[in-house]
């Protein structure tokens, strides 16, 4: 009896203790460590390897899509190519067809990906800039390098956004409460921010490339975008200076004479002196995404994207680029030409890198900037640098107007199907409303000057009350 009684009491006490413990242990029990796949942010920005990984994520984000057209991985090239007079699609995808027909709706999810992916990338760059600016744990030079790289990425994001959409919210922090209600920032202010980032990056970054090849931005990379930005802003003097800064460093940058070698890897092919900034493909088994989409699997297959007659006829007869940078498949007696700057669709050896900035553009920028300042002879020299490589005779334009239109034309055939140059140039040089009506009507559509800006996705307008749609879209 006693024994039983005692054991009952023991059971009771033990139970009582467990319940008390349950109360007491609560606090500890529900505190959990971060998941094994997470690194706390404060840790990321106090260690140079981790901080470097955060920066590398920017490039991986830009380049990794491989089999999908993401904005920084062929998307801008293809979609603006369809909108303008460069490409048409044989894929039969509704969103693309409506981009081609200049009949984009504000519910077009393909166009909306340009917006959303850009802002995702901007967030990552903002987070790095914020995280590193406050970090005392890292060495100053390493920190400056990474901040500089993030600023270049941010500037590139906004450069594209402002040209695709016009005035866009200029978001430079990670404070989502604040950022969620930012209205459109005027185009001038966005450009001011871009220039400020690039000027800062130019001084933060070293003149040398951080790693093998030209796949991490250096200070010249900042200059390369800066010269383009000044050109778009019609700041001819600065555009000229920035382009000169790069062109004058002839030890590093030189035009590659063989058109077939312009887009090669700057690691495997250290002679690729034309590259200012390239991204190395990261998806195992894949080359560049543009190569994957442009190059058909065999000579009997229609290319997904075909070069339009407008672009084909723009080339001069003897232009070497017609054969080096274009190729055609003949099907049913009809030739379908496709861009062939990248020559590998899917190879897996990463022998081609994705070109973001290259020297030829800097020559054309300087040519235009010089011509605009009336320095026609110097301008012609730069222009002919490019014509020469293409096997063409020097340009003999004698008036500023002729020279400028020669430069515009040279940009069309040199920079075709690269990063939206054609679409942006049409708008920048105010040719869009003279050229596009004919182009659009050939696509069974009709041109409206409003179509030069893409619509902001409907959900974005709904979710940010302060955002307004571009004119012409309902």
């Amino acid at each position: 009896m006693n024994l039983i009684y005692f054991s009952k009491r023991t059971i009771f006490i033990v139970y009582f203790l467990i319940i008390c413990l349950a109360l007491g242990a609560c606090r500890k029990f529900v505190q959990i460590p971060p998941a094994p796949n997470l690194i706390v942010t404060s840790q990321v920005f106090s260690d140079s390897t981790d901080a470097d990984a955060a920066v590398l994520a920017l490039y991986i984000t830009m380049i990794r899509s491989a089999t999908v057209l993401a904005p920084f991985d062929g998307g801008i090239t293809v979609y603006t190519g369809l909108s303008s007079d460069e490409l048409y699609s044989t894929r039969g995808l509704a969103p693309e067809n409506s981009i081609y027909a200049n009949a984009i709706l504000q519910t077009n999810t393909t166009i909306s990906s340009l917006w959303s992916s850009s802002y995702q990338l901007a967030y990552k760059a903002n987070a790095i800039i914020e995280g590193l600016t406050g970090s005392k744990a890292m060495e100053a030079s390493a920190r400056d390098q990474l901040i500089g790289e993030a600023k270049i990425v941010r500037a590139l994001v906004y450069f594209n956004l402002v040209n695709l959409y016009g005035a866009v919210p200029f978001v430079t922090s990670t404070n989502y409460e604040m950022n969620a209600v930012i209205p459109r920032t005027p185009v001038d202010s966005v450009y001011k921010g871009i220039i400020s980032d690039l000027v800062s990056a130019q001084s933060l970054l070293s003149d040398n490339y951080l790693t093998a090849g030209r796949v991490r931005p250096n200070s010249y990379t900042a200059s390369a975008l800066l010269s383009r930005v000044y050109l778009y802003r019609k700041d001819w003097r600065n555009a000229e200076n920035m382009a000169s800064r790069i062109i004058n460093d002839s030890g590093t940058y030189k035009i590659v004479n063989d058109l077939n070698k312009v887009f090669l890897s700057s690691i495997a092919n250290t002679n690729n002196t034309e590259a200012i900034w390239q991204l190395t493909p990261v998806q195992p088994g894949y080359e560049t995404t543009e190569g994957y989409f442009f190059i058909p699997t065999s000579s009997t297959v229609k290319p997904k994207y075909v070069i339009s007659d407008f672009l084909l006829t723009a080339f001069e007869t003897d232009d070497l680029r017609k054969t080096a940078w274009m190729k055609g498949n003949t099907i049913g007696g009809k030739i379908y030409k496709y861009p062939f700057k990248y020559k590998l669709g899917k190879d897996g050896n990463a022998t081609e890198f994705y070109m973001i900035f290259r020297l030829a553009e800097q020559y054309l920028i300087r040519a235009e900037a010089l011509a605009q300042q009336g320095k026609l002879e110097d301008a012609a020299v730069d222009l002919n640098m490019i014509r020469n490589r293409a096997g063409l005779l020097p340009n003999s334009a004698s008036t500023q107007e002729d020279l400028l239109s020669a430069i515009y034309h040279e940009r069309q055939v040199e920079l075709f199907c690269e990063w939206g140059h054609r679409w942006f140039d049409l708008k920048r040089t105010e040719q869009v409303n003279t050229i596009m009506p004919e182009v659009t009507s050939s696509k069974a559509g009709s041109w409206d000057t409003n179509w030069q800006l893409y619509p902001i996705y409907l959900d974005e307008l709904n979710q940010n009350h302060f955002l307004t749609q571009n004119p012409g879209y309902h």
Binding site: C26, A35, L38, A53, Y100, Q120, K124, P284, K302
Partner: protein, 1124 residues
């Protein structure tokens, strides 16, 4: 003794049995009888019941008994007396000869005050504690019985009537007529009110439950040939909406209790459901109702709007065998759910599996087999109609069809295909028959102390698609129960295991493949290979809407294997009277192994044939330990039940996907080893939860019930300092039918209860680690050999508990001896400061952040259920059960809505599912293009989607998608051994129709996608009046108008329906026949599910409201059930 008025005396002493023998030793002369009785009592412990009047005229006794038996001793003592006796158990009843004990005594006695004692026992002789003893006509009960079933009332008028009542027993009534000792035998009542109902940490009955709980029983589940037990709940529980997302086996079943509380994380999609907490045998089901797939398949088509099924996926409940379930209890109000604290805001579903029963070994077998088909789909155009549409469309566009790819006039379906060919692709893809076979067997039995059950089940269900797809499931269940002879120690152990293998196609385009042009060439060559080239045309490349020859979809495999183990161990010990210590230990692990692949043979050899295979593992684990202490005792005239306990719970979810690419040969594609390139992604979540809870339940006089619950919770999902929250509820009930004034004035009311509850519940049903600012490595890729880190998302360290306040009142009535049972509940739930995945514009970098949103949502409604026995004659019975719910959801307040990301989605004062759409006007009879109305009512081709209320748009409120009312009605007819059950489900609601979905696809109606045949009547020429605009192939005016149309009021319509959900006809063989066959039971049955639907809905099916995904199937089965 001198007073004859003391007619009765209860000699009723409780004597310890210890040290007593059964033998009687009495020796003496002329002893008064009463003294002899006392001696026997002392020696044996036997109790005497007698009327004092027996001693009048009783002779004194002279005996000499040595080691006599009780019976024989009494017989000796009563020899020569005019008395009778009777021994029942250990009670000896002594009466005058020829009189029944406690029988009325003749003659009126003057009213005198007497003290009455008594003992209340049931048919088994067990004492009934807590029974109410009342003097008839009195307002209050006079006493209630103690643990031994005894009671005493003092100062009762001797001619009063005594009424004894207790839970689950028939009322007992006697006129005292001076008797002072009562022996009361209560008969168990046969009423559904007194059937066991499972509630949190215990059981109760409907009669004494203050909470809002509905039970669906095994017999109702058994009549439905469903794979997923949730499907069996459709229409059966008030307040619960269950929707099958697709007719594809294994597809998710959405469920929601009493409406939506939280905001939609994605304004573009359909409302996500606030899922209730699901607990199986005391163990929280590890995956809850989240999809267990990581890879997409035709069951899980992902976020495509077209399938109207963006939350579709693989249901974890597919791994639970409906036959193993004893009951499903749906807990709705605060009283029932508050004890679940942070997890009960959206209601709780308790699933209880079958247990063994004592008695002889019983073997149960049940087998059925049958077929399923798609019930209703929209007919599509035939080739003639299709070609006419195409030509007309090109004609409208002013384009001559040509065969130049990429050209606006490219039309191989007109120029290259055999235009005399007419294939019904709908029939080809979804016109098939699925076969279903289900077999279950179990064995159970045991003694009164130990019971067991072992069972096994097999379920096979093929797909209606071609391709040999099927879902196969094997389940095993077991339960072992033991209690010690003194019932103090209770052990319960159960293990349920299931294995499910579901294989189908991973290509979601298979769902819409039926819209292929009817003149499309044969998909397969005569040798069975996929036909890639037709007249020089590459069928893998020619595409609109479909990315390849759809035959390839059937050869792109997907499978998921799920392994589900639910085990639970409970041990309880009653240490002293009424005080029980208990522990629940539970463990649930559910693992899904998935695979999908794109082999070379399914790819166009002219494209880049590139093999890919993905191997996914999704592993959910939950363990739970819940020590509890329960104390039950009588207190005053009532019963007190106190429960205290704690919970320790841990959930982990481990996900990995290993991808292999570039296989050299299709033969190797089932292994990761053969891949040329591999990479892996991993994801891990940990959730810990700890709580202390208590419940006090007091039932006074079987009339008044008070329930108090409280819980203090800690959850790892919250940031430091915000991890704890307190929740509680108070509930009360009044069984007014127990009041004598009701009994007397309204005798038709056999049961009546008013109940009310108020309380708070919380919600921590959010992702893990959301408060943490962190980075995560990008899997599978490196930049120059170094990894990259991505921010894991926006983080918010400040979010914390949010409360749902639940108020409920209910009236329950039983009429005509409970032949009609009715219940009405009114509820009002208010959720404020709710934790939500708050939508943000993508310009901030991510689309959402977890935070407390400043709004209040109210779900209010009425739930009515009635069940009745309409006819009950000798052989024939007819029972009806009906339930209806009238819910109303409104956004009560949302400060700052106009500036918030939700400004276009919600309206204060309207439902969360409010539809703000542009009003459709007509087809302009000149241009043939859809027109809409601006906010001001002016026709336009280009309305603005924004709500008119914002000042900028044309969208107005056209309604909402909440059901206005829904419910079900069940009729059961029995005639002899034949039983017919008919269950109808109904819902009045609004939903998207097929017209909007056709235009939503993104191609102009007139492109080379086949359309419903109803499109044949459309606008063709000026002055035509039609509701379908002109056909067009181009991305021009008609295309844009079509997209507007898909977002307009015309894309929505009535989706109300009445569905004959279940019809079950069974024949149960008669006892005579069974005896001959040596069987306990045998029945043959045919069941039909989704037999037919009455609806005005425009589209395939008003339940899943999707034109492109598979509607719920119609199933017929026949089966046999055996029991021996």
């Amino acid at each position: 003794m001198k007073l004859t008025t003391f007619l009765l005396v209860a000699v009723y002493l409780h004597v310890s049995a210890i040290g007593l023998g059964q033998k009687v030793n009495i020796s003496g002369k002329d002893m008064p009888l009463e003294k002899v009785f006392n001696m026997i009592k002392k020696q044996t412990g036997y109790v005497f019941f007698y009327d004092y009047s027996i001693f009048q005229g009783a002779k004194n006794v002279t005996v000499d008994i040595k080691d006599g038996g009780v019976d024989e001793s009494i017989k000796v003592c009563l020899k020569d007396q005019s008395l009778d006796y009777n021994i029942v158990n250990k009670t000896i009843y002594v009466t005058k000869k020829g009189e029944q004990w406690a029988a009325p005594v003749n003659g009126e006695d003057p009213p005198t005050k007497i003290d009455v004692k008594g003992k209340v026992v049931n048919e088994k002789g067990e004492p009934v504690p807590g029974a109410t003893v009342k003097i008839k006509g009195a307002k209050m009960a006079s006493a209630s019985t103690n643990e031994a079933g005894e009671f005493e009332i003092k100062e009762v008028e001797s001619n009063a009537s005594i009424v004894v009542s207790s839970v689950g027993y028939e009322l007992w009534e006697v006129k005292l007529k001076g008797k002072v000792a009562l022996s009361v035998l209560l008969h168990t009542k046969v009423s559904s009110l007194d059937e066991t109902q499972v509630i949190a940490y215990g059981t109760t009955t409907q009669r004494f439950n203050v909470g809002s709980v509905t039970t669906v029983k095994a017999e109702d589940i058994a009549k439905q040939p469903v794979t997923n037990p949730l499907q069996a709940l459709e229409g059966r529980v008030p307040g619960l909406v269950v929707t099958q997302s697709s007719g594809v086996p294994g597809a998710t079943v959405q469920m929601q209790i009493r409406g939506q509380n939280s905001l939609n994380p994605s304004t573009g999609g359909i409302m996500p459901l606030d899922n209730p907490l699901v607990i199986i045998d005391g163990v929280p089901f590890s995956p809850q109702n989240s999809n267990i797939n990581q890879l997409s398949s035709i069951t899980a088509p992902g976020t495509s709007n077209v399938y109207n099924n963006i939350y579709g996926g693989m249901s974890p409940f597919n791994s639970i065998n409906p036959s193993d379930i004893e009951s499903i209890d749906v807990l709705r109000d605060a009283d029932a759910t508050a004890i679940y604290g942070s997890r009960g805001a959206n209601g709780v579903i308790l699933i209880t599996t079958k247990k063994g029963k004592s008695g002889k070994i019983s073997i149960n077998g049940n087998v059925y087999t049958g077929q399923s088909r798609v019930a209703h789909t929209m007919p599509l155009m035939n080739t003639t109609q299709y070609l006419a549409m195409r030509h007309e469309a090109f004609n409208n566009d002013g384009i001559t069809p040509n065969d130049i790819p990429g050209d606006p006039g490219y039309a191989p379906d007109l120029l290259n295909f055999d235009t005399t060919k007419n294939t019904d692709w709908k029939k080809y893809f979804i016109g098939g028959t699925a076969h279903v076979t289900d077999a279950n067997a179990s064995i159970s039995g045991g003694t009164s102390n130990t019971q067991f059950l072992f069972g096994a089940g097999y379920h096979h269900e093929s797909y209606i698609y071609p391709g040999g797809f099927a879902d196969n499931r094997i389940t095993m269940n077991s339960n072992f129960h033991h209690n010690s002879s003194n019932k103090r120690l209770i052990i319960d152990f159960s293990v349920n295991y299931s294995y499910d293998h579901n294989n189908s196609s991973n290509n979601i385009n298979l769902l819409s493949a039926f819209t292929l042009p009817p003149d499309y060439p044969d998909l397969l060559k005569s040798n069975g290979d996929i036909n890639w080239i037709y007249k020089g045309l590459d069928l893998g490349d020619y595409n609109l809407g479909l990315s390849t020859n759809p035959a390839a979809y059937l050869k792109q495999p997907y499978f998921i294997k799920t392994y589900d183990l639910i085990s639970r161990f409970q041990i309880g010990y009653e240490i002293t009277k009424g005080l029980t210590l208990r522990s629940n230990l539970g463990y649930n692990t559910l693992t899904g192994n998935e695979y999908n692949a794109n082999p070379k043979l399914a790819q166009d050899p002219l494209s880049y044939p590139y093999t890919i295979a993905n191997f996914g593992t999704n592993d959910f684990k939950t363990w739970i330990i819940e020590p509890q202490m329960e104390y039950k005792r009588s207190l005053g005239k009532g019963r007190l039940d106190i429960l205290f306990g704690g919970t320790f719970q841990q959930n982990t979810n481990n996900k990995t996907i290993i991808s292999g690419e570039n296989y050299s040969n299709d033969l190797l594609i089932n292994s990761i080893t053969g891949a040329g390139v591999t990479y892996a992604v991993g994801n891990y979540n940990l959730y810990k939860y700890n709580a202390f809870f208590g419940r006090i339940n007091y039932i006074l006089d079987n009339k008044y019930i008070v329930d108090l619950t409280g819980r203090r919770d800690g959850s790892s999902r919250f940031g430091p300092g915000k991890q704890f929250g307190n929740f509680g509820s108070v509930g009360g009930g009044w069984l007014f039918s127990e009041e004598s004034f009701i009994r007397n004035s309204l005798p038709i009311i056999s049961y009546g209860k008013l109940r009310a509850s108020y309380g708070t519940t919380g919600n921590d049903n959010i992702g893990d680690y959301q408060y943490l600012s962190a980075y995560t490595p990008i899997p599978g890729v490196a930049y120059q050999g170094s990894p990259g880190y991505n921010p894991q998302g926006l983080y918010n360290p400040n979010f914390s508990w949010a409360l749902t306040k639940k108020l409920e009142a209910g009236l329950e009535l039983g009429l005509f001896k409970d032949r009609i049972l009715a219940g009405v509940s009114w509820y009002r739930n208010r959720s404020g400061n709710q934790l939500v995945t708050y939508t943000l514009p993508l310009q901030v970098g991510f689309g959402s952040v977890l935070r407390n949103a400043p709004y209040t949502v109210q779900n209010m409604g009425w739930e009515i259920s009635v069940s009745s026995t309409n006819i009950k004659t000798g052989k024939f019975t007819w029972n009806t059960a009906f339930n209806i719910t009238i819910p109303k959801n409104i956004l009560l307040s949302f400060p700052g809505l106009a500036q918030s990301p939700y400004q276009a989605s919600y309206v204060v004062g309207k439902s969360l599912s409010v539809l703000q759409k542009v009003r459709y006007f007509n087809v302009n009879d000149t241009t043939g293009v859809f027109q809409f109305l601006t906010a001001k009512g002016i026709p336009t081709y280009f309305p603005s989607y924004s709500p008119a209320a914002t000042g900028a748009g044309d969208a107005v409120i056209i309604g909402n998608r909440d059901p206005k009312f829904y419910g079900g009605i069940k009729n059961t007819f029995k005639y002899g051994g034949v039983q017919l059950d008919v269950f109808l489900q109904f819902s009045k609601q609004m939903g998207p129709n097929y017209l909007g979905q056709v235009y939503l696809v993104g191609y102009p109606a007139g492109a080379n996608i086949n359309l419903p045949a109803s499109f044949v009547s459309h606008w063709q020429k000026e002055t035509d009046q039609s509701n379908i605009q002109k056909f067009s192939t181009q991305f021009a005016d008609a295309y844009k108008a079509g997209i507007y149309f898909s977002q307009s009021s015309a894309a929505y319509g009535d989706a109300s329906f009445i569905r004959v959900k279940t019809v079950s006809l069974a024949y149960n063989f008669t006892t005579n026949y069974l005896r001959k066959m040596n069987l306990e039971g045998l029945s043959l049955y045919v069941n039909a599910q989704n037999l037919f639907t009455i609806t005005g809905y425009k589209g395939n099916d008003p339940e899943n409201q999707s034109f492109y995904s598979l509607p719920p199937l119609r199933t017929f089965v026949a089966g046999i059930q055996l029991n021996f």
